[in-house]
């Protein structure tokens, strides 16, 4: 039974590898050769993250959520360093995107600052848990989390402008509401949020996961802000991206102070993802978003299962 499953997974590996040939083949070739010179790894990492940067933009996901499972599964680095680099990747991406979103009003400080405080506080605790757990347990937990994220991508449905009957007591007290102009129609959207306390409590969990695995948490922020609290989708996406710059900052400092950020891994990754994102933005108008999204889901499942099996000691 187990052998059949592993055979099927290997066939899946080949299928996904053929879908992203350059980066996957380069990594496989380097990994299969013990005499690979050290400089090949940062170079291959740069190429891989460049591809991930393109794919992330085309699929509308954060680079961090792809970076940790894929680099953690196929590169020879310890997961501590991969998670440290993953946080820096997510942080750099959020800092790059945040200013434009804030100036356009697509990210809102009053919506983002309270949740950022909760998520950043708990991401510190998550970082300590992640750095204390044994590697195999962490690999399995990461694998399970990544598979759950893939399933969330398959089944989650967003709502462009959720119906919010009115602000609740907490959002009224914090004055969490505002307006933005929907560029496609030129209409003014007045918004507020409800179920604020439930939303804030959810960010405890999101912060823990972000810090523990070094993942950007846009995949979780957006559904909570949009579906649970009722923020319009564009505002939820924009505010989520911005608040990652705060959540990831606190966890990044823990990893930095623990010595888990190696420039030789983090710097090529940041530069690769940033350049890839620029190319991705240019390709966006010509791409087929559904096809890319399916590819990302396949990549996540593949990396998640791989990570889980690695943790079990099967691979």
């Amino acid at each position: 039974m187990m052998n059949t499953l592993i055979e099927k997974f290997n066939a899946f590996t080949v299928a996904v590898s053929s879908a992203m040939p350059d980066a996957a083949n380069a990594v496989s070739a380097a990994a299969g050769n013990p005499d690979t010179p050290w400089w090949v790894w940062p170079a291959v990492l740069f190429v891989t993250t460049f591809v991930l940067g393109i794919v992330a933009v085309l699929a509308g996901v954060g680079g961090g959520v792809l970076f940790v499972p894929i680099v953690g599964s196929f590169f020879p680095f310890h997961l501590d360093f991969v998670r440290g680099a993953g946080l820096i990747v997510a942080l750099a991406g959020a800092l790059a995107a945040g200013p434009g979103l804030l100036k356009k009003g697509l990210a809102n400080l009053r919506l983002a600052l309270p949740v950022a405080l909760i998520a950043s506080t708990f991401s510190i605790i998550g970082a300590f848990i992640g750095l204390a757990l044994p590697q195999n347990i962490l690999q399995m937990a990461l694998g399970a989390t990544i598979c759950a994220i893939a399933v969330l991508f398959i089944f989650s449905k967003n709502s462009d402008i959720p119906n919010v009957p009115g602000p609740d007591g907490l959002s009224k007290k914090l004055k969490i509401s505002g307006t933005y102009i929907e560029e496609s129609t030129g209409r003014q959207i007045d918004w507020t949020v409800h179920r604020t306390l439930k939303g804030y409590l959810t960010f405890i969990f999101i912060g823990l996961i972000a810090g523990m695995f070094g993942l950007g948490a846009g995949w979780a922020n957006v559904p909570v802000l949009n579906l649970l609290m009722g923020a319009p989708l564009k505002l939820a996406v924009g505010s989520s991206k911005f608040l990652l710059s705060i959540t990831d900052t606190s966890a990044a400092w823990i990893y930095l102070n623990k010595g888990a950020v190696l420039p030789i891994i983090a710097v090529p990754s940041v530069l690769g993802i940033m350049l890839g994102s620029q190319v991705g933005v240019k390709l966006l108008s010509k791409s087929k978003p559904k096809a890319v999204r399916y590819l990302v889901i396949a990549m996540l499942l593949f990396a998640g299962i791989n990570s889980f099996l690695k943790g079990l000691g099967v691979m």
Binding site: W38, K104, I161, W191, G259
Partner: protein, 156 residues
Amino acid sequence: MAKEQLAAQQAPKSSGKVQSKMHVPAEQVAYANMINYGQWLGVGILVITFFIYMSGMMPGFVPPSEVAQTWHLSCEEFLKTNGMPHGWEWLGMLRYGNFLSLLGIAWLAGLTIIAYLAFLVPAYLKQKDTPFLTIVAVEIIVLVLAASGILGSGGH
């Protein structure tokens, strides 16, 4: 907060009249501008210092080839094996390329703290917005604590 935004907040609805311009609070724009220039400066520092490290213009505390032999170890074992410093000690060792490369990363990780202090604290103080002033103050404390290494640095 500006009067026009307050007016909009008191009547939330899903769609409304066509408008050409949107009000974005001044502190939000100032914060965005600072982050924008700061992150480009950070990327510039990353590129230059990493080039210095990789080109060998400044040697690494541990040569890259030796880093590659130990990057499969946990960070605790890695530090021990290579005799690397803990916490902020790297700041006193910027003559080594690998520690110099950490400057850009630390700058990126510190930007939010600077922007909070420079723009959000004064703005909410001026507006006498106690809830958000408290949120921002506590966030600064959290981030400074995380950055300081007081919460734990080095080995587990």
